[in-house]
Amino acid sequence: MKKSEQVLAPKDFATDLDVRWCPGCGDYSILANIKKTLPTLDIPKENIVFISGIGCSSRFPYYMNTYGMNTIHGRAPTFATGLKCSRPDLSVWVITGDGDGLSIGGNHLMHAMRRNVDIKILLFNNQIYGLTKGQYSPTSIFGKRTKSSPTGSLDYAVNPISWALGAEASFIARTVYSYGDHMREVLRRAADHKGTAFIEIYQNCLIFNDGTFKYATDKELRYDNILELKHGEPMVFGRDREKGIFLHGLTPKVIKYKEAGFTEYDLLIHDEYATEPTLAFFLSRMRHPHFPEPVGVFRAIQKETYDGMLEQSMREAIEARTKSFQELLHEGETWTVT
């Protein structure tokens, strides 16, 4: 990928379109952090493309002064796949929501991930349909009361990380809209990853689902509710890092390990690079309020990308080509009429 010659600043990525999210919407913070992250990637602005579906979150490309496409509902990964497979020199980002990406668009997301197309997928999960004014989404908790479920929804929620693992994604992470540093680090990691990167970003929809992620954003609650994953490090959390995760057969157990006389090194150690996604899957099952929810990188493994292999096979074929197009036309049984 081309390196940027200019030194860019976040403001270079602003467009002249008014940002139209509701004042106080969690999307603003994500926008700001992406604008801060991009200049650190050393990619020329013109080589970056944001592609989205439809939703509040999907208005995102309009607010980034890069190339961008706000496409149709749920299909952003298909456009991104075509683009990246055509132009491997570009840095291609998909912006989607829990409705866009997991309701109508689940299939495309899955196929992009299993193919390991080198695109970065950011799923803004606010557990609601924002743009259409507040219906429950596939990530809304069971029993959620919304406009379309006045007596509580009967849908069990999908777990985006488990689901992405079932789809064989090579890079999977989670962060929270209000975690500036953490988000930027995760974004950088995703950008560096060769292959599909799937990031779930908890986002607060002020209007239709305010406070859903309070357990994660509240400074006090956060200690007990969030587990920050770090490769090679033991899984500890709590205000005084006093709690940790033990492996009990195939299920997690939360233990105040210090109290119980253990050290950090008796705890489960995180391994982003585990070839099989079983550890990551195990972690994805840890959900609030029963467990601290892991944020950070669940999985980051290397495998060749679809677009890379396509490009290579094409380049090889072009190099090995021995005939002109005219000769191709002449191939096969021919005869001359005089």
């Binding site: 020329p44 890069t66 796949t81 497979c85 055509s86 072009i318 096969g332 021919t334 005869w335």
Partner: protein, 624 residues
């Protein structure tokens, strides 16, 4: 027994014919397609003009011997230039009772019927739904029936080779081929050469196939069964180098040609579907010409990926058939409003819904024009012959890129699978397709790039990612004029809706004037479109030969229509529109020009035949 010797041993009567239509039919496993192709090659090398049509069974292989398992291959060869695979059969070869049952209706009265009588067992007759053996009751009395023990004769022919039972069975198509090669006076050379090449490393198979081929030939020559041999002299074809080609092959090659002419890579996004899958199979073989093929998870992904590619500056193409085209509806609307170049190929098949997947129809014309929410006009063009598929692909690409618009190609299962001789074009004789991507210079110093500022053709610039300074956003929301930003302004919306429509309308100035064959004014015009061309042309030509004032015109451009179409329509007393649907072009013509026309609607999953059009013309003209 090769042509040279052949002449010396000649001893039966030879009857010379103008043209002949034959069909080889048998079970899917009987190798009829291959035998048909080899017969075609021999005919072509001999110098006839030909047109062929393979008729595959439904998608799933049916049990051997059943009606659903029957596979046929039809060949029309002639000493004149011809345009269809032919209506009725002069000769039919059937390898089992099911093949007889399925195909007999197409055989001319007094036509030649060669039957592999070995297969007419009680069991096979039952599978084909016969209560009685048609070879034994009187039901075939209207035909010249030649029962031949093909199975047995073939076994005898190859018995000296070490073959398994299954292998022996696989050679009997060559016996049949030998036999009809004699009957129609076709040389065996090309087939022998092909066998030798194909089975290079398996001499037993070579020997067996050649032996039985010749045995079949000799059987015709020697036995008393056939009193006459038929001869169809060479046609006067346009000189040049030829090969044969199916519509799907030509479409694929046309796309590669277009890529070549535009100096662009092509991105082909597709999901397998009958009868369009062959485009995928063909294109994927040609990476070396800059063809990126992506087998998507469905048709929505196929078109989405193609649009993504176009946004990136490649030419995006998505190929499909009916149900898949339906799934592309929403994304096609996006391509319209974003004004990105794109080619969508719909190889139409019989609908509605899943319909009859292996059968052709022209039922998606109105859908191609109107099947999207909101006002979303786009050009629609249709190829008329296999060879024309090549030109159509190039034209679609040219229009798409020149006018920044999706273009729909409406092919169909008939033209897609018909095999015609094709004079190999000289690509250096084609005009290059010019494509420009603006660079920063377009800004002329100003800061702002206007991605929807239009040129004299109302076309916006095709700026592509990677171009510094031209970063822009596009999408499905209504755009602000010029800037491409989001706008809900009422007058802006109306302006853009009308501009997008006007842009497509103006393409009419940039396409060929509609050609008419026959008198420029007259009693009747046969107005056909797409693959109905061959039959319409032949029917009109036949009528002209009989002295009637009948012209024909075949529409390739369904939207916008050619500039001179209205004038043409007004130059004839009557207009007949034959099409494989309930009258969709007729509907368009009436809506557009308020001209009353007569339709010939055939919706049988089968091409319209020459005689059907001729009959209709006669009725309209009141002759008979």
């Amino acid at each position: 027994m090769l042509p040279e010797e052949r002449k010396t041993t000649h001893r039966k009567e030879v009857s010379t014919l103008d043209h002949v239509v034959i069909r080889l039919a048998g079970d899917s496993g009987d190798g009829m397609q291959l035998a048909g192709l080899k017969f075609t090659t021999a005919s072509v090398i001999f110098g006839n003009d030909i047109s062929t049509f393979p008729d595959f069974p439904g998608e799933i292989r049916a049990p051997a011997g059943t009606l659903a398992g029957v596979s046929g291959f039809q060949i029309h060869f002639s000493s004149n230039i011809i345009s269809t695979p032919g209506d009725e059969l002069d000769a039919l070869v059937v390898m089992n009772p099911a093949a007889l049952r399925v195909n007999l209706a197409d055989l001319k009265p007094n036509g030649i019927l060669i039957v592999n009588q070995d297969t007419f067992s009680a069991k096979n007759l039952k599978k084909a739904g016969y209560n009685q053996n048609p070879l034994e009751d009187d039901s075939l009395r209207n035909f010249r029936v030649y029962p031949v023990s093909i199975t047995t004769l073939n076994q005898t022919a190859v018995e000296s080779e070490e073959l398994t039972f299954k292998q022996i069975n696989l050679t009997k198509n060559f016996f049949a081929l030998g036999l009809i090669s004699w009957l129609f006076d076709r040389p065996l050379t090309s087939t022998v050469e092909w066998i030798e090449e194909k089975f290079k490393h398996r001499p037993t198979i070579i020997n067996a196939n050649i032996k039985t081929l010749k045995a079949g030939y000799n059987y015709g020559e020697t036995t008393e069964l056939f009193p006459i041999q038929y001869h169809v002299p060479p046609a006067k074809m346009d000189p040049g180098l030829y090969k044969y080609i199916s519509g799907n092959e030509a479409l694929s090659l046309g796309l590669i040609a277009a890529a070549n002419l535009a100096k662009k890579e092509i991105f082909y996004g597709a999901y397998p579907i009958t009868p369009a899958s062959d485009l995928l199979h063909e294109l994927v073989k040609h990476k070396e010409f800059g063809i990126r093929v992506f087998q998507a998870e469905d048709e929505i992904a196929a078109i989405g990926s193609a649009i993504g590619a176009s946004f990136g500056g490649l030419l995006g193409v998505a190929g499909t058939s009916g149900p898949g085209f339906s799934l592309m509806t929403e994304a096609l609307g996006l391509a319209v409003i974003t004004e990105l170049p794109l080619v969508v190929i719909n190889v139409q098949r019989a609908g509605p819904s899943t319909g009859m997947p292996t059968k052709p129809e022209q039922g998606d014309l109105l859908q191609a024009l109107f099947g999207r929410n909101g006002e979303s006009p786009l050009p629609v063009i249709a190829p008329q012959t296999p060879g024309d598929c090549f030109e159509t692909a190039i034209e679609a690409v040219r229009i798409a890129m020149k006018y920044m618009t999706p273009v729909v190609i409406l092919s169909d299962g008939f033209v897609a699978n018909t095999i015609d001789p094709w004079k190999i074009p000289d690509i250096s004789q084609y005009e290059q397709i010019e494509v420009q991507h603006p660079s920063k210079e377009i800004l002329k110093g100003s800061e702002r790039f206007y991605p929807y500022l239009r040129n004299e053709n109302l076309v916006r610039p095709w700026a592509i990612p990677g171009t510094e300074g031209l970063e822009y956003r596009t999408g499905g929301l209504e755009k602000e004029d010029k800037t491409g930003g989001v706008s809900y302004d009422p007058l802006n919306h109306e302006k853009l809706v009308k501009t997008r429509a006007e842009k497509i309308r103006r393409i009419t100035k940039d396409i060929q004037i509609q050609k008419v064959e026959g008198p420029k004014r007259g009693d009747l015009l046969v107005l056909s479109w797409g693959s109905t061309y061959g039959a319409a042309y032949t029917a009109a030509e036949n009528m002209r030969k009989q002295g009637f004032s009948v012209s024909n015109a075949n529409l390739k451009y369904l939207n916008p229509f050619p500039q001179n179409l209205e004038e043409i329509l007004q130059s004839y007393e009557k207009i007949l529109i034959p099409e494989m649907n309930l009258g969709q072009l007729q509907f368009l013509i009436q809506a557009r020009y308020s001209i009353k026309t007569t339709g010939l609607a055939k919706v049988q999953g089968r091409p319209i035949q020459v005689r059907e059009i001729q009959n209709k013309i006669s009725t309209i003209l009141g002759v008979e």
